[in-house]
Amino acid sequence: MSTTELLEPMPSAGPSPDADDITVELPARRAGATQIPDVTGVEEGPRRTLRGVRVEDAFNVLGALVAAIATASLFFGWIAPLTGIAGWIAVAFLLFIGLYAFLVSLTSDWQEVKDRVWTVLIVSAGVILVGALAFVVVYTFVRGKDALPHLNLFTQTMEFAGPLDPLTEGGIFHAIVGTLIQIGIALAVTIPLGIVTALFLNEVGGKFARFVRTIADAMTALPSIVAGLFVYAAVIVLITQQRSGFAASIAITVMMLPIVIRTSDVVLRLVAGSLREAAYALGASRWRTVWHVVLPTARSGLVTAVILGTARGIGETSPVLLTSGVTAVANFNPFDGPMISLPLQVFDFVRSPEPNMIARGFGAAAVLLILVLALFAIARLIGGSGAGQLTPRQQRAAAERSKRDVIRMSPTGPVRNGQRWIDQDIPSPITEIEEQ
């Protein structure tokens, strides 16, 4: 802008006689009321679309997908001597990306093509991951469907069944029992020790607590086979000279403890400090604060931590392999003799070349998977909300309790000028102004 233009007077705010603008007559102002201008006679323009997905986006993806699948099938079936489903998937995917980029570039610029192609790549990474997990789970169940329907899988042991026997004989009862006993002993040690250690880290604190936390974090790095080797060399070779379910429990405890401590520590840290301080301010001792304030608030998170640690402990194979051994009989005594667990039984079954044993192995794997998934689902259900957050049912219960408290403290509610506040008709201040 040149200097001469700047020196010219700025256009005035009000309507000038020469301007061709629309003047709107505003009605007289009323205090406290919002004014909406009168829009009679003004045309409505085209409505802008603000939604993310347009029809042509969906068609771009669909079209590229179909074209890629068709072209890949053409390559693999007719034109080129390429074989194998993995190659087909890879070629189809690459073609899909290329065709999609091309389709998007027909209507958009380079930035949007880049954006959409990267979005498609990110989504495919997620799809591959979820697909792989679903595949693994479904594969286990599909291969296990031969052995699962037989009830003897759950009630018999392998004591009287051999590799050549049909699926109607033999089962994994001893493995299920072994898993339950070993996990039971491990939990009996891990839950109190882990939660009290987490309480120690959070409530007592200090330099020693930092040291304990470092050690617990370091132990999450312990490979499971090394834990099994430790128990094998320390307990079995030195002390008991025989394998036992108890040794396996010790190994599982050593694996589970750091995980439970770490997750419980995280959950306890999430409890709001103001809750603790309120309890202290009201004169509660440290123990009462923990018992009445901290633990109930963190209860769902602690349960989740324990259940997730249990799921991890149930699936451990290598420590049990080293410490408790393979056996075909049901052993109810953890201190005497080898006791097999479910993952170890799976491992042992599939090493045999007999198809029946492999089918039994997959059946046992399916049972293990169901157990772990059930534990996981329970953990999600219980621990869904964060520390201190209430479910809708708990919120309603809390509201009911508050209402009862109000009635207990003042049966009539707040009182003003000798009359119940809710009975009085107090005029609104806005109405009073309007009347002036």
Partner: protein, 380 residues
């Protein structure tokens, strides 16, 4: 004129609370003598100074805390739990070291350079098994890091609401699946179906030394039996196993990107991908590296899936597609049964080496995550 008959002098008021070094200007009448000025200043000083409080025997109060019985019990039992935990952990570490010292003392430095593993003839070393472990872990990283990055970005950037919650649950579920299930899938499905892929790679990319598959005399092998039970297959399975851990850490880092920075990028007109690559990924760099290293630590220690898939050899095999590899944990699982005292000590030495490597990696990961912008408030 107010100055007539007066004169000025300057002085400091040492006892002034706020300005003890300030030079004040005083106006006095001319009749005042020079000698009286000092006296006047001292009097004025005394009038306006803040008196210093007299601390006669005032000392900080001693706060006596008399905890109740329940508090004492709680504190001591918490202490006890901490001590027991540390004792268990330290017992594991110390026992391993002491028992391994036997074998390491015998082998000396050759423990790290020898490829054979026969403790009976005093000729053993972890070079071959460690090389195999690292190979499997590297392949696992190549598989898992892109998948984990993509899934973490998908969860934190692209999906919303219920779908996001479901994805988070699904990824956590994958972390709970036992490793023996992955091992089963690897042995019974992947072995047969990945071999054509491995053959294709070795055919067209065999000019890269890693992807070639050659026999003893250097001839190229193409039959399927040369491709089974390789580090490649084990790496794929282990990679799938560690993806959930990495995804969780990365997702937490990405979701802590300051919304202000995100919105600033979008307000300046960038597309979503440009926003991700310029704001989210640099911010989450610590989480990416930390998550990768945590997954690496887990991949190094994976036992049962690797044991089921590979066929163990005791030499360094650079060709990842070729059959035969080894890993420390598979070695321990293989040899513990018929191990004599000394062999057991050698196995413990190998286990200790693995534990130390995993420990270093985990600690580095934690410190990287804690130091980064994204990790400052997360609890990874």
């Amino acid at each position: 004129m107010c100055w007539q008959g007066t004169r000025f002098f300057w002085g400091r008021i040492a006892g002034h609370l706020r300005a003890p070094n300030h030079v004040w200007r005083f106006q006095v009448s001319e009749a005042v003598q020079e000698s009286e000025l000092e006296e006047l200043l001292a009097e004025y000083d005394k009038e306006v100074s803040t008196p210093t409080p007299e601390l006669d025997g005032d000392a900080p109060r001693e706060l006596k805390v008399r905890p109740s019985v329940s508090d004492v019990v709680f504190k001591s039992s918490a202490f006890l739990a901490g001590i027991i935990t540390v004792a268990i952990m330290l017992a594991v570490g110390l026992f391993l070291s002491i028992r391994a010292a036997d074998a390491i003392g015998t082998a000396g430095f050759s423990f790290l350079t020898e490829v054979q593993w026969s403790p009976e003839t005093q000729k053993f070393g972890i070079l071959a098994v460690l090389f195999g472990t690292v190979t499997i872990a590297v392949i696992a990283m190549c598989v898992s890091v892109p998948l984990a990055l993509g899934t973490a970005l998908l969860i934190s950037e692209i999906t919303r609401g219920k779908l996001q919650q479901w994805l988070i649950t699904l990824v956590d579920l994958m972390a709970a699946v036992p490793s023996v299930i992955f091992g089963l899938w690897g042995v019974f499905y992947l072995q047969a179906n990945v071999i054509p892929v491995a053959q294709w790679i070795s055919t067209y990319f065999g000019w890269i030394p890693f992807f070639a598959v050659t026999g003893e005399n250097g001839e190229v092998l193409t039959e399927a039996s040369a491709f089974t039970s390789s580090a490649f297959i084990a790496g794929i399975v282990v990679g799938l196993m560690v993806v959930p851990t990495q995804t969780s850490v990365m997702r937490e880092a990405f979701s802590q990107t300051p919304p202000g920075e995100r919105e600033a990028a979008l307000a300046l007109g960038s597309t979503r991908w440009v926003m991700i690559s310029n704001v989210v990924l640099p911010f989450g760099r610590g989480g990416i590296i930390g998550g990768t290293m945590l997954g690496l630590g887990r991949a190094l220690g994976e036992t049962i899936a690797v044991y089921m898939i590979i066929s163990p050899i005791f030499e360094i095999n650079w060709q990842v597609l070729k059959t035969g590899t080894n890993s420390v944990s598979a070695l321990i699982a293989l040899r513990y049964g018929e191990a004599s005292d000394f062999s057991l000590s050698a196995l413990m030495a190998a286990g200790l080496a693995l534990f130390l490597i995993t420990l270093v990696i985990n600690f580095t990961a934690s410190s990287i995550v804690a130091r980064s912008r994204s990790g400052a408030e997360s609890e990874a």
